[in-house]
Subunit: 217 residues, 2 copies
DNA sequence: GTCTATACATTGATAGAC
DNA sequence: GTCTATCAATGTATAGAC
């Protein structure tokens, strides 16, 4: 199970618990996490878990927090490594997509509410809030660069961006959770989905290309 | 609980069970359905449920089947009652959105996979398959009417349509499941989300309005 | 088609020894 | 920080009387 270096039982039991938790969720569904099963896999007795986490929800909360933090890191890094504006947005979309497909369980925990009683704590949720800010800033950059219409820099712009990205990813996770980013029927359309967003908010350069009223159904 | 007309205990116990099941799912989460709790609410003992349904999964399956059938009906009716092509599509989108917000639990069961072990039977899934056909036909009508580019009449077109619609609805269900169709932060953007799709597949009438390469990210 | 009784499994959590 | 022992719930499902 783990390397024992000295008298202490294992190097980092807490880490092992969290990894086992994700493993169990992958097999039984996100809502199917069980501390008994986790303990079995880590090789300790179930009551011992309570020395590391106060409750089942505390485990969920930490998986959520780490997942949200990782997502923020990955996106922020993608943005930093690209030209501000549309290139940064495109890089962020791809980064989110690859991360979600590599960690389907965590992605489901973050974007749905699959566990009846569990609501993430404020602290666990913080990185997600911060990521909305990153997206908003990137949208603003794209507007400043003349790549998007000013209307994109708004709550509505952020919401539509999230609809498109989360839409592709959750459809993928619900229908073919084990596909790869490249081969998934929906995840492979993520670039196209993103292109829909970009085109929708294309700058009206001198009105040469008319765009229909946005709120007309 | 129910009207008793004669010696028989109730008019339709099966119906009451299904209704109670949805109620329980609404309170405990879709994965939190329990036959014991359902029995309690219907006013019978838990073993009696097995005279009506073979197992817990059988209850899930029937809720799924009825939900899928209702969705198909509602969409088909919206399409029939509108001019073929874009008007029919717009009507379908609105119908799907209103139905989902009126029945959030069923919508979650249909569009996510929230229950660890449960997979809908082929029969329960049939209406959903049929609905893909309805969407495809409507896309074809829109292309024939010159309202959409021929590229929209494809598997990719159907997938992108579903990404946009399911994206808006699942974001809404995950974040504000109790909002109304009109007031939800995401569901209220459904028309805009749909407009993104329409604009993306706008016919290139004589190339007067250029559209970027679709698969370029 | 409803009931009682019961088998059987699983779980989250606590107390207290070491 | 790990263990044993235990509690108290909850759950699905079956057998068999009426």
């Amino acid at each position: 199970m783990a390397v024992r270096t000295d008298g202490r039982r294992r190097v980092d039991t807490r880490r092992e618990i969290l990894d086992a938790a994700v493993e169990v969720m992958a097999e039984r569904g996100v809502a199917g996490l069980s501390l008994s099963e986790v303990a079995r896999r880590v090789g300790i007795k179930q009551p011992s878990l309570y020395k590391h986490f106060a409750s089942l929800h505390a485990v969920y909360d930490e998986v959520f927090r780490e997942g949200a933090e990782r997502q923020l890191e990955v996106v922020a890094q993608a943005v930093r490594g690209s030209t501000p504006g549309l290139p940064a947005m495109a890089a962020a979309v791809e980064a989110m997509g690859r991360l979600a497909m590599a960690n389907p369980v965590v992605a489901q925990l973050l974007s749905w509410r699959p566990v009846p009683d569990f609501t993430p704590s404020e602290e666990a949720f913080r990185p997600s809030v911060e990521m909305v800010g990153v997206v908003r800033t990137t949208l603003r950059d794209a507007v400043a660069a003349g790549e998007l219409d000013p209307a994109a820099d708004s709550d509505e712009g952020v919401a539509l961006f999230s609809i498109v990205v989360a839409g592709a990813l959750t459809q993928q996770l619900a229908n073919e959770p084990n596909a790869t980013y490249e081969d998934g029927r929906f995840s492979s359309l993520l670039p196209s989905a993103y292109a829909m967003f970009v085109q929708y908010f294309a700058p009206k350069a001198g009105e040469s290309c008319t765009r229909p009223e946005r709120d007309r159904l």
